[in-house]
Amino acid sequence: MSIFIDNSTTVIVQGITGRDGSFHAKQMMEYGTKIVAGVTPGKGGQKFEDKVPVFNTVAEAMKATNANTSVIYVPPMYAADAILEAADAGVKFIVAITEGVPVLDMTRVYPFVKEKGARLLGPNCPGLITPGQSKVGIIPGRICTPGPVGVVSRSGTLTYEVVYQLTRAGLGQTTCVGIGGDPINGTNVIDCLAAFEKDPATKVVCMMGEIGGTDEQEAAEFVKKNMKKPVVGFIAGQTAPPGRRMGHAGAIISGSAGTAAEKIQAFKDAGMGVAQRPLDFVELVRARLK
């Protein structure tokens, strides 16, 4: 079992002939992900890697394949339109990897996706992986292994770091989800926590947050009220100064809001385990699996 994707997931790659899109499409195919179509306007009729049919529009790709998922690797100025196109064509799970999507674009994309009844993950996220079944996005497959731990994070490489430590310690994962570091994204931490709570295979959840916003505080509230499974949390940016954006557009402390200290306090108040360093996840998770 897992959340959001598994071996029944069928994927359209938007931007499949681009530099990033083609590289990661191959990586996903090697991992075993069922890539059923690609989309690049003007390249309709071609075959990617002699196997995957390429279409001019997502609507055509959907008509031919009825995929349930799409993953987006198009340049930032076109990413919002690609998400709208996927949702309009009836794709139910849309993973937007692209970094640098204007936030005002997302204020239009978000309600559209919602109206269409689709789920968006990202943008500016590494995607997700259900080890041994499917990966959609860019998380390196070899650092993961199947097991009982659910992982959700706002960051890319920090997720890798934690997953890598878990895997090295023999602690496999149900699904690892990177929700992305942008201020407006499609799926938040709570959505993932709720899904993990429902997933019978997940026994413990690791949550890597960061400074900025109130997502983690709300997540902690959710854990307290709605979750029976144990959750271990971490906040990156304990040493970050206020008012400076730490790379991620969302990682900025505004006034007294969004500090690491208040988030960690919220975790503690919710009875969660708190990792001070990425390495701490190993022992905290192990203790909760016993």
């Binding site: 990033d20 930032p76 100025m77 970094e99 640098g100 999507v101 204007p102 936030v103 005002l104 997302m106 204020t107 239009r108 309600p111 559209f112 590494p126 860019i138 998380i139 390196p140 650092i143 994070s153 706002r154 960051s155 890319g156 490489t157 920090l158 997720t159 890798y160 770091e161 890598y164 570091g181 201020p183 407006i184 890597m208 960061e210 400074i211 900025g212 916003g213 109130t214 997502d215 971490f234 990156a236 940016g237 304990q238 040493t239 970050a240 100064p241 400076r244 954006r245 730490m246 790379g247 991620h248 557009a249 969302g250 990682a251 006034g255 690491a260 001070q276 360093r277 990425p278 390495l279």
Partner: protein, 382 residues
Amino acid sequence: MNIHEYQAKEIFRAAGIPIPPGEVATTPAEAEAIAKKFGGTVVVKAQVHAGGRGKAGGVKLAKTPQEAREVADKILKLHIKDLPVQKVLVTPAADIASEAYVGIIVDRARKKAVFMVSPAGGIDIEEVAAKTPEKIMYHPVDARYGLMDFEAQQMGFFLYKDAKQARAAASIMKQLYQAFVKSGASLAEINPLVVTPKGEVLALDAKMVVDDNELDRHPEIAKLRDESAEAPSEVQARNANLTFIKLDGNVGCVVNGAGLAMATMDLVKYYGGEPANFLDIGGSSNPEKVVNALKIITADPNVKAILFNIFGGITRTDDVANGIVTATKQNPLKVPIVIRLTGTNEEIAMKILQDNGFSASSDMDEAVKKAVELATKGGKAA
């Protein structure tokens, strides 16, 4: 991207917002000439990308051209939050009957642009929010509909009882929203919005922050960037496609990914050190980027040790290793370096480093501990 008050005013004016005239001076003599032209009392305001200009002495009244020259001279010698003041805006002083606040920001929780308006203007809105929250009206805007007339009017009536003033304010809010969207802004602010004794509604200040991600779409806005008003190291980093924030510690950090970069800084602190910076070399690194990153970090005299923490995913660790070798050949390091690499092409990277006399670890905690130790006690790694 920050733009100056005078630039934001031009954008707001083009959108139709009533704003008194103003001109920019870079010398006291220019300020004097402008004050003479306007006649009467003028306000001289530092043009600098920092809040709290008033408290820092960056905003002064001048009753005569001579006085304008004098205060301009003082202001142009200021540094506000480490940034030198290089321009002042000179505008006629307005008579003010009341001051209000109007701002738009993108709110992550509501996933919308949100208006904040308050009849208590002229002061820091965070102060109003803390002390008299009932004096702030928050109004989220549904991007699908834009700011509707009745919404602007509701906010207008929240600011003013007088219907004419409420309508004038509503119209300004519509124009401000247009300017905000058209410029790809993440913040737009008028503080204060004033009513004059004659009942006119005017914007006396203007602030706008533009979403960096929109700049490709708005070249006319992108060229408003004033690099002379930014920290030189951050300008250099941006031009090299790196994300860099200078901090006060002594451990220089080079990391891929924002989250891991923050976690690395935190771990430096955890092991008793102080990070000298935040630096993210981004996803698709190449050796050139590493060279630039090292240049920027070694330019900081506080840095006593350099720590690389690279988790290869899209980033190829051999690219990073090659970058380190190239950079240190060009400019031999004067401080010790500690390297942690793991992930894509790790074996190749390790070989490259060993062949060039560097050692590297694949363990993050070990590497951080060592870097802190070296920065604190001195010595040489590599």
